[in-house]
Symmetry: C5
Subunit: 310 residues, 5 copies
């Protein structure tokens, strides 16, 4: 049922790209190989632990598990749980990575902002640089792109500078592709299929190696989406597959979002992987629990990922 | 009936400039010769396949032919159909061009934006650079100029930097000359003769080698155009010829716009070429159909172009 | 009746500065000498043919003489009519100058904009650079300064960069000193004596070598001018003389504006020269007529200029 | 009762970090050692005298003690009182430091602004550079970060440049982490626990070595804070401890704010130090009194700090 | 009655700083010595002739003495009257200084703007650079700082660049410290004691060597000033002394403002000098009269200044 089975005679990659098939410079290959095959489950999948919520949401996310307020918690979880990488800003990398250097790959998140002012004209400024990432021995950078924001021009130009630096150092780029801003909210909202689908394609055309997406959601605002999304009937399987396809041969990570039940979380992970995701980036769902519980859930996710070798 | 037949004694080029007659630096001659005479029909005409709609419109353009969502589709169509060039952003060039390198000339589209926020103050930020184009072996860059936008100052300054880089590397410049913004809508709209005519002249004076235009359209808003456009009587032949003349000795490409019937498309192509266009840049009209159909229509367009050797 | 006859014992230059009296770097002397004494009438006056209306007004200015739409028309008129220089943007210089290289001096107009959006916050962005002017063998650059615009800070900073580059290469600067913007319209309008007088002085203090002005006009809005302009009684001779004096020892060119009758045009030229202008910059009044007529009128203007040797 | 006692087996630093435990480059170690152990009480605590109120508030702060209007007053107080450092802008350092060079360590405050315009969109521009700090022999720079301001993007980018320069020269960074702007005022105000807590974490993640905070205050606007702060019950001890923890392993300084009674000031100092602060930065509370009184109070604060060796 | 007589045992400079006492780099000493002791009265005072009103107010200031419209008038007045320096923009320096080179020291005014648009968000852009000042052999630069303007951030950053360049070349900085903008007008106005006092302190902390101030004025808007200025009782002697003290060890120049009677002007000069000013910068009050009168008044001012040797 591949949509281009009839049109293309040669086999093409529509879902879950394989590193070996991609036309990437050598340094990107080295770093992505390290992330995909030398850590975590080691089978070409990704399980990333993000700890940038302190900037994006403030300390509020640490109330349910005060131990997690100390960044040491996440570094230890990433190390002991065997994640493919931890993703954080410069301050947490520079100040807590020492004991984990070389053991836990780093994705340096290089832009971010508080959620205190309105998101109507969202823009996420740099907090560090690609050269910082190189100096810290990072294996990728993370960049938040606010797709559809009225300030998309500033975002695009900032991203261009980042991408050029990443080309220079052959540093892989992971784009947090987030629909955001007043116009998005008028056209179905940030989690609508329209919005996530557009975000996936934009990040791909701009040159993302890996794209972080949210699973699209159905909502009352769906009829506000542009045609033909406003009338589209879709199952979650179809929705996830659609946005994975829109990401082209960029790899896709799905985020977990706010904390949910264990069964739901595992189901979300299975759904994502079945439809072609390369991996998962679960933060609050992992570290908003005591360490032992967090390690146990990590193990369950890894068991799941083992089924998706590539 | 050439308007300057009586005024100018020496022959001047009002329509369809010939490369050999233009005062261009050597590198531009090499690259334009490659585009005009070494690919496509090879007779000095141009047939370009654009695939930047994923940024400009989102994945919505792929619903009618899901196979086209995979950029491989367009690369293969360009190669098998024998287009003069494919025009796309950096992500699609860097990630899909490998198998077609040297076979399909590249026009690197170096700016773009989503259509999610309003176009009232449209501005199209860079997504790549002229140096990227050089590094990819491109034969031209494409730049969208939003003529008449309240942000025309940012656009003009950005274009200046691009032009200077293009002079440095002798890289041909193709300007997507698009009237846009609140003031344009008040003065007859983006497709009015006034708007397209002004866009053609502006792109020419700013230094475009090739200018992409839309065929001007008549509409109810015509009386809102500034004088004397508000009262002007014109046939489509006259309208197309007028904007071609306003482009001076820059070559002109006409775009296809949204999908139309085959007869209409061929008629549009004929109209454009008869009035002095150098070529066509048809995207959705070509790849919003199955591959075999697309290749067949490509062949019909090429047959037409064969009549316009220069 | 010179206003400072009693105050200053040494002779000072209040009107029509002579190149030999000015403290200018060598390169500016060479280029200005070429403009003033090696072309045109060759007696220290200037007759400049501008063709930047395609950017500033659009193709609308070519309706009355369609032949003039082809920039070849203006280049030929400048060459055959023996103008001191042609003034145009980079596109028209780079693409049409080849046959006239060295025969017609070039004033490269390095900024410009369309008149499509409102002029309330007018700003004229660069379309080329001083280095472009050097590379084209130009003898001066032209810069539009929008005096009194709310964006005067951007304009001033942009002009500073231009001036510094002009010092570096000893390239003469011709400032199109144009009052513009919401505040100007509230204080009597862009053509009021107040506005033109202020524009002349500002351009002079900022370092213009030559200043292009419009002849100030009386209007119903005169009482809105700041004191004492609101009550000032003046003849056109006095108005022109006043603004020429405000330009200090910068040379002054007067523009023609939109097309007028031949007698009026010659009278305007005489008025300007009698009151101390160095020359004229007439565009539409020259090329909005058939070539033969344009050449004839050019000859009449040259006859006039011969009376004002300096 | 350490919140992560059960979760983390290895000892982690939640309060009052010790310089020797931190992963810092050599130059930062040298300079911080000089501040912490070579001046003031010399036991790893900090007592800083700020004199930037002339920019932030104007001369109004000098009315109660006119002698303090002469910056010589504060330099002499810092020297004779034995402060760990004085914090001031370039003008006061360059013009008054000569006699105290090497005796009083300098924290160069490198950004600041007047409080004349509204703080709705607060942004604090640079007044000097990290290289200035190096040239003055400073041991740290101070930077005001307006957390939550609508202009947080400009602030973040400016801070990034500062941080990169600080990395280059291994110059310690002290962040004045100040919640500010319209959105903060709508969410409980600049001194709310929510605001100060978020500010501490943001400064930490962005890479502050030391963070200056205000003691959070309870107010009528507390219910406007986001959840769960709106309902949170807390003592001042808990509030201070909470924000100290949010600063991670960055050291914390508490400010004194406007002048208060001596008993209250000492109590505030004790509260801060008991909950893990590294030191105090008291300005108006010290120099808004005659020199002898100021020196006496300084001695009392130093006595207190002696109890908190680290 | 010196305010810090009791607090500070060592003598400190509260009024009229002496060059020999200041910690300044060698180049600033050379240039300030030239201004203070080698020209004018030569006793450490300053009498500066400004001619930047053509930019700030337009030619309107020349109506009462048309001879003054020719910049030659001011240059000759400065030379024959024996001023310490003339202060003007680049255009007037580059085009009129030749005959006075080395005879009249130059203060290059490097920023300025017209008064055509509103001053609600005043910002004064650069019109030349510190390097221009060096190239013209200037002995100082003049910079207008709009204290309290909503655009104070742009102003502060622009000033920082200027100051850094001035450090590089050891060029003295004279700040025109002007309260300006909507917030200032709401808080008592630009000439209120609050405003001028704040301006003096800000310029001092930012690193001005010399500060140009207006004499503060009492007005009906005084109660709108922030506390305690709103209730403050003060004589003009006290007001001037207060702002001179707020300028710290920066020297202070008082401006004359619009034309006033001779007795008032001399009284203003005496008041300023008695309260610790280093000198005067009188423009319209000097050149808005015939040359002989201007020279005579100049002599009277110099007689006064002779009493204030330092």
């Amino acid at each position: 049922m591949s949509p281009n089975a009839t049109a293309a005679e040669e086999p093409v990659t529509t879902t879950r790209p394989r590193l070996a098939d991609l036309d990437l410079p050598l340094g990107k290959r080295v770093r992505l190989h390290r992330l995909l095959y030398e850590h975590g489950v080691g089978n070409g999948t990704l399980m990333v632990l993000p700890i940038d919520q302190g900037i994006e949401h403030g300390p509020v996310d640490f109330f349910s598990n005060p131990a997690a307020k100390n960044p040491e918690f996440q570094w230890r979880l990433a190390a002991e749980g065997g994640y493919n990488a931890i993703a954080c800003h410069w301050g947490l990398a520079a100040r807590y990575m020492e004991r984990y250097a070389g053991r836990v790959p780093l994705i340096l998140k290089i832009n971010g902002k508080t959620n205190i002012p309105s998101d109507e004209e969202a823009f996420s400024p740099l907090t560090s640089t690609v050269e910082d990432a190189v100096a810290l021995g990072a294996d990728a950078i993370g960049y938040t792109l606010y797709v559809g924001s009225p300030r998309q021009d500033d975002d695009s130009l900032q991203f261009l500078e980042v991408r050029e630096q990443c080309e220079k150092y052959a540093m892989p780029i992971i784009v947090w592709a987030y629909p955001r801003g007043a116009a998005i909210e008028e056209k179905g909202g940030r989690d609508s299929l329209y919005a996530v689908d557009y975000a996936a394609r934009l990040a791909h055309e701009l040159g993302a190696d890996v794209i972080k997406l949210n699973v699209p959601k159905k909502s009352d605002k769906d009829p506000q989406q542009p045609k033909p999304y406003d009338q589209l009937e879709w199952s979650y399987e179809e929705g996830v597959r659609r946005v994975v396809e829109s990401a082209g041969n960029s790899m896709v990570l799905f985020s977990g979002g706010s904390k949910m039940g264990d069964a739901d979380l595992l189901e979300k992970a299975r759904l994502a992987m079945d439809q072609g995701a390369t991996g998962l980036i679960f933060g609050r769902n992992m570290w908003q629990r005591p360490m032992e519980e967090a390690l146990a859930m990590t193990e369950r996710i890894k068991d799941l990922l083992r089924k998706y070798s590539r």
